[in-house]
């Protein structure tokens, strides 16, 4: 077993520094707009139902040098039929690439500019729409319309700044429904939704730092109240490299807590791939001396009992064997937690040769019971393989197997380079898998359908007024106000934060109490299924004004709220007036206390429980007639005297 990195839990900052970990983030965040970015379809009208289907193919366009770029070539090899499922509510002829774009959604552009200011970006004076090619079919045009609104931003982190390379405003892509063989199906409802792309510099040094920065960026955008929340509304890509490795982009991390393990696994994978390279070099294998052979071995495995091959034979498919000269042991070299090098090859075969039924390859290093040793030896003989070589079997229809054989050889040879440039996909277990070859730099070109658009000083000044105070400044301020630690971030990241500050000031409220009501009580009410939305800013002000004038109602806000939500008329003043009896006098309270305390005595031996019982009963009886704090003091005195 080769020596790899320490387990995830034991890795320290020094360990990551030693391997030269560098990581950056790309965050895609949907904006809260009514309509899509380049057409007038409603945004976020999600449904799995569809009314029609359209079939398209993507054709690679040539790069400037007359060559197809890496992704283009890969997609060309895969030759996919793309089916788009369309629902007439959420999609028009624009998304289906049958109508040119309409002017960019001004609401989306305003939000993007506002967020750009919040993140200290330098704003551009004129936006130009670009087309970024995607040949996987995820966008029917074959490209994403995208534009840059700002460059070179930053956010503070620990004692340093994290640089932000650019802020893009772009249209969202389709959601993949399935990808089997040569047929890929997409749902188009999400297509065309406006989103912003925030790209950081690779300035994070540990996996944990990446997650923390991702969180800060998320709080920041949420603090505007102008971004979408919920599943899929924000998606992170991370890029990772270690010394000697390659910058690898891992796509589609849906939850920030998954980030650290994902980065660890990628660092591990790059570390392992570099080890594999040096092992091969040690064996004298270089890019020049690399040798591989392949042969049709279908007749040799004709009677195989091993299920995947038995089924392939039944489907009249071809079985090919590839001999990788001198590669013994390499295929079973570990790469990520629970994964070995042959997985890298299997991924390529699945994506590029469209052999999606798994397992799609079998290696001579498999420890499971597969085909018998006699058959293996016949295959070895056919390929003149020695004990120092490694063999891979692959099966499928003739054309796909040809592609697969080529791809196996390509990936095996890339082991001699180290870490090949790829885009990878985040998996739920914290590992990652191959998604596609990294697109070349030529995939950006100007969109000739839309003219440039000037961002005027007036527009910027108008928007600057909306830009919220940065989250990190609010957090400091709230700490000083004495708010408890656990509410600092939620309040600072809330679009309601400015309102919270304003009401504290206007009604001279205790920040702690106001925060509790605005941010914690509401959560509790929502959980109980109460229509919290009925309290708008005006209703909040009414409530705070009443509470400020009648502080004893603070103690029974829950009960008031329950009444409020069920009342036909939303009116706190009327509600409080209804309950505003005269304050209970001392004698009444004392006699009631005596009765309740007697009952408590019988029920509980524990003094805390007894106290809570008395308080509960008393509050029930005297809600709105006595202030909670005052009553508490009274009960305390009474029970202490009692003991």
């Amino acid at each position: 077993m080769p020596v790899l990195l320490k387990p995830f839990e034991e890795m320290t900052g020094d360990d990551y520094a030693q391997i030269g970990l560098k990581a950056g983030l790309e965050i895609h965040q949907q904006l809260l707009t009514e309509k899509k970015l380049f057409c007038r379809c409603p945004a976020a009208r999600y449904t799995e139902e569809y009314d029609a289907e359209i079939l398209r193919h993507m054709r690679p366009t040539l790069s400037e040098l007359g060559e197809y770029d890496g992704t283009a070539l890969m997609e060309f090899k895969t030759k996919k039929e793309i089916i788009y499922q369309i629902n007439h509510e959420s999609v028009c002829t624009y998304e289906m690439d049958d109508t040119p774009p309409f002017e960019i959604n001004p609401q989306a552009l305003d939000i993007a500019l506002e967020i750009a200011m919040l993140m200290n970006y330098k704003l551009v004076s004129e936006i130009h729409i670009a087309r970024k090619q995607y040949l996987d079919g995820s966008i029917p045009t074959g490209f994403q319309r995208t534009t840059i609104v700002g460059i070179d931003g930053w956010i503070p982190y620990k004692d340093r700044k994290i640089g932000l390379i650019q802020l893009g405003l772009e249209e969202d892509a389709c959601r993949e429904v399935s990808d089997v063989g040569h047929l890929r199906t997409y749902r188009t409802d999400r297509l065309g939704m406006p989103l912003i792309e925030t790209v950081t510099r690779p300035e994070m040094r540990t996996p944990q730092e990446v997650a923390e920065v991702a969180n800060i960026l998320r709080w920041l955008v949420r603090s505007t109240g102008k971004v979408r929340t919920g599943i899929g509304a924000a998606r992170q890509d991370v890029n990772v490299s270690i010394t000697g490795g390659t910058r690898i982009e891992i796509k589609g991390v849906h939850r920030i807590p998954l980030i650290p393990r994902l980065i660890y696994n990628e660092a591990l994978r790059q570390y392992a791939l570099l080890q594999i390279r040096s092992e091969l070099h040690k064996r004298g294998i270089t890019e020049q001396t690399f040798r591989a052979e392949s042969a049709d071995v279908s007749p040799l495995v004709y009677n195989s009992e091993w299920e995947p091959i038995r089924q392939a034979v039944a489907r009249k498919e071809k079985v090919f064997a590839v001999n990788l000269k001198g590669y013994r042991g390499i295929l079973s070299h570990p790469t990520q937690t629970g994964k070995v090098f042959s997985k890298e090859i299997s991924d390529r075969v699945r994506v590029i040769a469209c052999l999606t039924r798994l397992p799609n390859i079998l290696t001579s290093e498999s420890t499971e019971e597969t085909i018998d040793t006699y058959t293996w030896s016949k295959i070895r003989k056919t390929l003149k393989a020695t004990a120092r070589d490694a063999l891979i079997l692959v099966w499928g229809n003739e054309r796909d197997v040809q592609t697969a054989v080529q791809e196996i050889i390509i990936r095996a040879q890339e082991a001699l380079v180290g870490v090949p440039s790829e885009t990878r996909q985040a998996l739920a277990d914290g590992t990652n898998g191959f998604e596609r070859i990294l697109p070349g730099p030529d995939r950006m070109y100007p969109d000739t359908d839309l003219p440039p658009l000037e961002i005027t000083e007036e527009r910027i000044e108008r928007l600057r007024k909306n830009v919220p105070q940065p989250v990190w400044e609010r957090i400091e301020k709230y700490k000083k106000m004495g708010l408890p630690e656990h509410v600092l971030i939620p309040i600072a990241a809330s679009p309601l934060a400015p309102f919270f500050e304003k009401v504290c000031e206007d009604y001279m409220l205790s920040p702690k109490r106001a925060a509790n009501l605005l941010f914690e009580k509401t959560k509790y009410w929502r959980r109980r299924g109460w229509p919290v939305k009925r309290i708008g800013q005006e209703e909040w002000r009414q409530l705070f004004a009443e509470l400020s004038a009648n502080p004893r109602f603070w103690s029974c806000v829950d009960a008031l709220a329950e009444e409020f939500f069920t009342a036909p008329q939303a009116d706190w003043t009327a509600l409080i007036n209804k309950h505003k009896k005269t304050a209970a006098d001392e004698a009444t309270l004392q006699s009631a206390l005596q009765a309740v305390a007697g009952e408590a005595q019988k029920r509980f031996t524990d003094s805390d429980k007894r106290h809570r019982y008395i308080m509960g009963k008393m509050m029930e009886q005297f809600r709105g007639q006595v202030e909670g704090g005052k009553l508490n003091e009274m009960v305390k005195k009474y029970t202490e005297k009692d003991e």
């Binding site: 193919h57 289906m96 109508t99 130009h128 670009a130 074959g142």
Partner: protein
Amino acid sequence: MEEAYKGYRDPALAVLKENKVRVWSDVEMDTSRGNFKGIILPRSETADERHIVLKLHNGYNIGVAVHTIRQIREISYKKAEYKIPEKEFPYDPKKPNVKLLGTGGTIASRLDYRTGAVIPAFSPGELYGSVPELADICNLETEKLYGVFSENMGPEQWIATAEAIGREIEKGVQGIVIGHGTDVMHHTAAILSFMVQNSPVPIVMVGSQRSSDRPSSDAALNLIHAVKTTAESDIAETLVCMFGPTSDQYGILHRGTRVRKMHSSYRSTFRTIGDIPLALVDREKITPLRSDYKRRRDDRDVIINTAFEEKVSIVYYYPNMKPDIIDSLIDNGYRGIVIAGTGLGHVNKPVYPALKRAQEKGIAVYMTVQTLWGYVQMYVYETGRELQQLGVVPAANMLPEVAYVKLAWALGQTDDLARVKEIMLTPIAGEITEREPYNGYLIYQGGIPEVEAFLRKIKR
């Protein structure tokens, strides 16, 4: 316009000169909004004069307002050349020879990735580089007749194209493909149907609705369909070959006199009107939908007749039209007028005096229908009968645009109105048909249940 400052006007131009930088300079700009680094690109002539376009190193373009610029520093300069890759088109003596005539349009073009300028790809080598499948079908020769935008096509180009077709047929090609912009493709298809008669080979017009620099382009598939039709089909007529459905499935071969662009941007914009199309074509085969077409022959007996009278106009009738519209055509010396009338071919009474004047001046006036589908019927209502008395000739089910080019062609041949009428009403290339098939008119009404069911089931 100096190449070094392409597209720039003052004040942007002055700022470039002041800072001694030009297009293709790799620069660093110090501005009141921060520092920007990138390459200065040419500016579109239609864009304003207050911004400089910068290509950032991440591939995005942005505009920098000149009033924000404090200083620009040139770091280096590198002019980029953009060339379409050429690969020699293979020659196979067993394959038919096809000629591609270029007239402009986006059937084959590449985008300059930096400026967004469209560069036509047209030589066989360039086409082979971008659509290698063509070499499986034929040996290809190309000739660029002219490069004009679709809307600038006119008699001069039509005549030159007809003559070029005549020359190629004389040389014995297997067929001719004409690359054309889509906006007036049906006008060109119609006039070529009249100017080129008795062709022994297919003449196939083709274009694209999504330019070929886009991965989702219909250009390559349209071109493959057109070349396949030219090389392999036995339909010796002037055809338009464009997408059938919006899906990448098959093309439709439309007769040149019955086809019309019906949507401003859809791929499946071309439809046969008043009839059914001639055939379907996909990568594998050509499937005729009818048998009454002219067959391919071995001879070279083509007739080229490029007559054309430019003083012909179409008048699209609307309620409350005043006679002065017709009067102005008369006063400007027009010799022929095609009216696109309402319903069965009607105009209102206030126009009558002008039509009477036209009749007296010997102007040829023909009636078509703006419903596009159906025949002119000027016997049914009194209006129709009155109009005929005013010399308006019903043009049966000829499409308005087709009647327009045919009238220009007829008037180009003779002054004799009786002779013109004979030419106009004698069908030459299916522009007038004796009967309309009951399954021709099928404009689906989207949204109604049976059409929704069809869309759900069939990927079109």
